[in-house]
Symmetry: C2
Subunit: 356 residues, 2 copies
Amino acid sequence: MMKEKQYTIKDIANMAGVSTGTVDRVLHNRGEVSETSKKKVQEVLEEIHYRPNMFAIGLAGKKKYLICCLIPKYQPNDYWYFVAQGIQQAAEELNAFNVKTEYIYYNHSSVESYCNAGKVLLTRKPDAVLIAPNFRKETLQITQVLNEQQIPFTFIDVNIEDTGAMMYIGQDSFQSGYIAGKILMNDYTRDKEIVLFISEYDQNSFEVQMQRRLEGFMKYLSDKCDHLIIHEVKLKGENYNEDKQALARFFKEHPQVKMGISFNSRIYQVGKFLEENKIRFSGLIGYDLLPQNVELLEKGIVTLLIGQRPGLQGYCATKVLADKIVFKRDISPMKYMPIDLIIKENIKYYVESYNL
Amino acid sequence: MMKEKQYTIKDIANMAGVSTGTVDRVLHNRGEVSETSKKKVQEVLEEIHYRPNMFAIGLAGKKKYLICCLIPKYQPNDYWYFVAQGIQQAAEELNAFNVKTEYIYYNHSSVESYCNAGKVLLTRKPDAVLIAPNFRKETLQITQVLNEQQIPFTFIDVNIEDTGAMMYIGQDSFQSGYIAGKILMNDYTRDKEIVLFISEYDQNSFEVQMQRRLEGFMKYLSDKCDHLIIHEVKLKGENYNEDKQALARFFKEHPQVKMGISFNSRIYQVGKFLEENKIRFSGLIGYDLLPQNVELLEKGIVTLLIGQRPGLQGYCATKVLADKIVFKRDISPMKYMPIDLIIKENIKYYVESYNL
DNA sequence: CTGTTAGCGCGTTCAA
DNA sequence: TTGAACGCGCTAACAG
């Protein structure tokens, strides 16, 4: 707890018997310095624990920092919109420290779009990068370049391993699926039937995430529930009318099914259908606090939403990057978000504090 | 998306036709400024979105700020310990802005101790104050002085109304009790019995908070559950042996009871007893992530913990105060924490990110 | 009451 | 190769 003296370059200059200019030159190995001066300064530096004053650096160097965020293109109020909100809030706080953020969007179902975004990213010469990674192979191409150029980066939402990322921020998908299973099967009695609303997408990383949730869910079922009948309805999630037909077909055939789950954030599609057709589920679980989902939760049509704090993810990831590049602070490389269990009765407080 | 010009006090001075000194004076309402100058500057400030350069503030400011925190004395890992952790984290971040924090502890069951702490507080001449208020009347005495001296303060955990507090941060106790009711009564069938583990304390504010939780809980029961048999066991929470006897007595008489709840953070006492006596509850609910509670949750003895993010409360309260005194930023006067529902399967991620 | 000014620690230019 | 000097934006002391 003793307060170490804060040495300045002036102190160092005095101690080494040179001028501040020279000290600066050896600190940044810039310009020509004689071997003798260099040695003198380095000796002093080894003795003391010099910690440059970051404020002075920020003030003097008109240095601007750029953080680039590679994320899926979003619509108002969808999942990535909230992530962007969190990034935005961090950006505002960081504004004062000459940190600018820039978004590069990609279409989350197009490899090509992702690659292009990656190329654009590199042309921007960012000081740090936040990536919502989508395709493994293509991501590795990007991160390789970033590593070569010593540009720190973090992953958000989905993790890609062995890339040298500074940090991953997101949720444990398997476990969240497991929990969903436990809660949906709370009233489990031997002869219940359930239906999974599965999305049909290409093989991208987000799909992998949903796959993990599904695996966690099935794990719970196989651990704890025997003789369960599990139905599946595939939804495209793009054309509601088409999906409506699929749902109608299903419920005509299986009117007795009263429990269901979706592993993506579009449970509202199912909810909407159920509402329109006055079908009452005893358990309907979905992900994420999209306004449509929230509304259905409040109406009692959806019974549980699993939240993963997209805003906080964006906020933390951005702050962590800034800490790294502006203040040279390091942090732990992994941060799992809480798996928030949200019901009708506590939704209000989650929506209110969404931008934490 | 247009890059706003970064205005400096020099710009403002020019625009307002005064000097930088005057601008500084109105920004920090320091020193004497004529009404006319003040008005001119304020007009400019309203037009532009002035964001001071934090680097410059950090570099130039020799001013030290002091935030005093009046909170209950704590033991490692109890509720207030986590609050203090959050404060500490904020303190570290604020360190760079010359903000120091200081704790003043009181014994949460002693009015006298609370008053003394209040007196000490005022002698410290703080720039801002964080209070975990306990006794209403005594709190009013403290806040009156603070108001006179124009020292901003926030309440945490428990709110005391009509005091001119900048902000209250805490949980909606009634609603959290209501939710507890809903979840405990999830398997509700007409003839179930439940037991409430009630604490016996003096009439302090924390007791009031538990009272509200109880009220919320009873509200749910009276709304949704008829013909319920509700037992009560009073626990002192200080001498385990004594409480053990009370519990033993109760369970000897009512071995059929399998659901219970405690409205304070000491459900671990009950859990410990149940574990020792191999009594298995189908539902046991408590508050807060104390390590003992977490352990029992993981073992499956406690089935649900309600979390209220003590760390975040401390963190936010401290940051908000600093925002006020250092950066003159104001914020909304009320912040409800989410009511986190924590079960065996998601506890891990809450413990890990406790210091958010 | 108000304007001026000297730093804060560092980066950078410009003479020497 | 080096030192001196200026400026980044803001605070606070000081002189008027």
